[in-house]
Amino acid sequence: MDSNTAREFPSSNNVIAPDTEHSGDPWKFLKWLNPGFVLPLLAGALFLLLWELQIFHRIFDLKKYQLPLPSAIAEAMRDNLSLLLSYTGYTLTEAVLGMLIGSGCGFLIALAATVWPRWGGGSLTMVAALNAVPIVALAPIMNLWFGDGIGSRAAIVTATTMAAMAINAYKGMAAVDPLALDLMHSYAAGKRAVFRHLRIQNSLPYVFTALKINATASMIGAIVGEFFFSSRGLGYLLSNSIKVAKMPLGWACIVLAAIAGVIFYLVVERLEKVFIKWHPSRRA
């Protein structure tokens, strides 16, 4: 694998940019009536209804203890709400902590690779290779190094989030407008000034793309890390519930993990809107 292929992985296009909303629209309530919103909602409701009426169970010949009904899952959520919420907080803490460290390291690697292209390119390839390492293989090793506390999961998340940031940030720093670069040169700007005024600015949209990828990846990393060597957290509760055949509780964990994942993603997206207002893709 050469650094070319490494550079476009994971490319910025595994996150779909949402359509920019027209703010200040007096017909805002009409937005709720357009088919793009109503259709998926109806489909989701129908799906849940079929599930609740045990249609799926009949088609696939499943028992209720294998695939619990939505009502049972909701009940399990209600009964264990405080436990679930505290575990969600714990897992989110691991994810955020690891993501911050990992993204920071990734950004530094991208900086180094831009400053010293000849030797930095190799490090990018190494990081991209790290990205292809299955998380589950990392989990036991990190557990040996950092014990079974929060540190080992943060380390797993760090390892899984570094690559996306390094590769995307490098892309952003490298893909500067050549004319702007020429202008900087004509002002006799040094390397440092080029970085400060041009490359860092230019890399911001890419950095946020990486952060959005990492928001999802970090949740996965934290949960999978908890599967095996943990006594707390959503991943632990999930694998444990299944071991003792408490399927509804296991599904409740999935639902909460999904909600937490979506919220985390949306928070990053909001930050992006605040930080790069100037970017063309953000203009209405």
Binding site: M1, S3, N4, T5, E8, F9, P10, N13, N14, I16, P35, G36, L39, P40, A43, L62, Q66, L67, P117, R118, W119, G121, G122, S123, T125, M126, N131, A132, V133, P134, I135, V136, A137, L138, P140, L144, W145, A174, L181, A215, T216, M219, I220, I223, V224, F227, L234, G235, L238, S239, I242, M247, G250, C253, I254, A257, A258, G261, V262, Y265
Partner: protein, 270 residues
Amino acid sequence: MKLNRALMRGRALPLLVWICGLLVLWEAVSWWLLHVAKTPLAQSKLPYVHEVALTLWQYSGTLLREGGATFGNAGVGFLIGALSGVLLAVLMSLSRTIEQLAFPYAVASQMIPILGLAPIIYGIVRDEQLSRIIISGYITFFPVALNMLRGLRSVDPSALELMHSYAAKPWAVYWKLRFPAALPGLFSGLKIAAPLAVTGAILVELMGAQRGIGVIMLRNLYYGPSHTYMFWSTVLVGALLGMASYWLMSLVERLVAPWQPEFRPQGGGR
């Protein structure tokens, strides 16, 4: 061509230095942990490189066989998931209704920790072969569908107009124009999904299966320090499987869609 080869050499040398440097550092830290710091379980934390290499060589038959079982299952799931993803993308590009129905779910599913479903699916199916395939396929499905859809949409409008002026049939437009245009998008989806499919397969094995690299990984972990070299070998094999899946996709991409700008030899950067 000649230029390209020279560039490769220019890039390959630093990479080689990196790899060698890392291996030396690993060996040194391993020695330091064992003899200077006297950490408990030093060899489990970071074993000697040469010992792990020796174990890899000694048990290469077993590792290859189990790794092959994992890779094969992940591959089947990956192919099924990729094909379904492509199919959904084509349907979405054909019909606005289907797109409105499926697109929000496809995007939302990217924000959901998919791998967390592994134990649940295993709980439902209770068959390791099938659940490995399902998980790998499911993980592959969405990135491929989304990237393929973007690819199908990325057609140059003037090319479309040209096709219209030739009175091309819809399937001809798809076959001659949209599919080739969608290949780069498709491959970025495939490259994202391939290592994930391997990860998913190994995860299912750790939940309790009979065959596969994940099984011997877990077994050697439970045996403790005496089997640490074997455990590290399985970890390395897992890592290599993930990388191999990515490289395989890159290779296929070079063969199938060689016209992309990334593959062109580049001039000197500043």
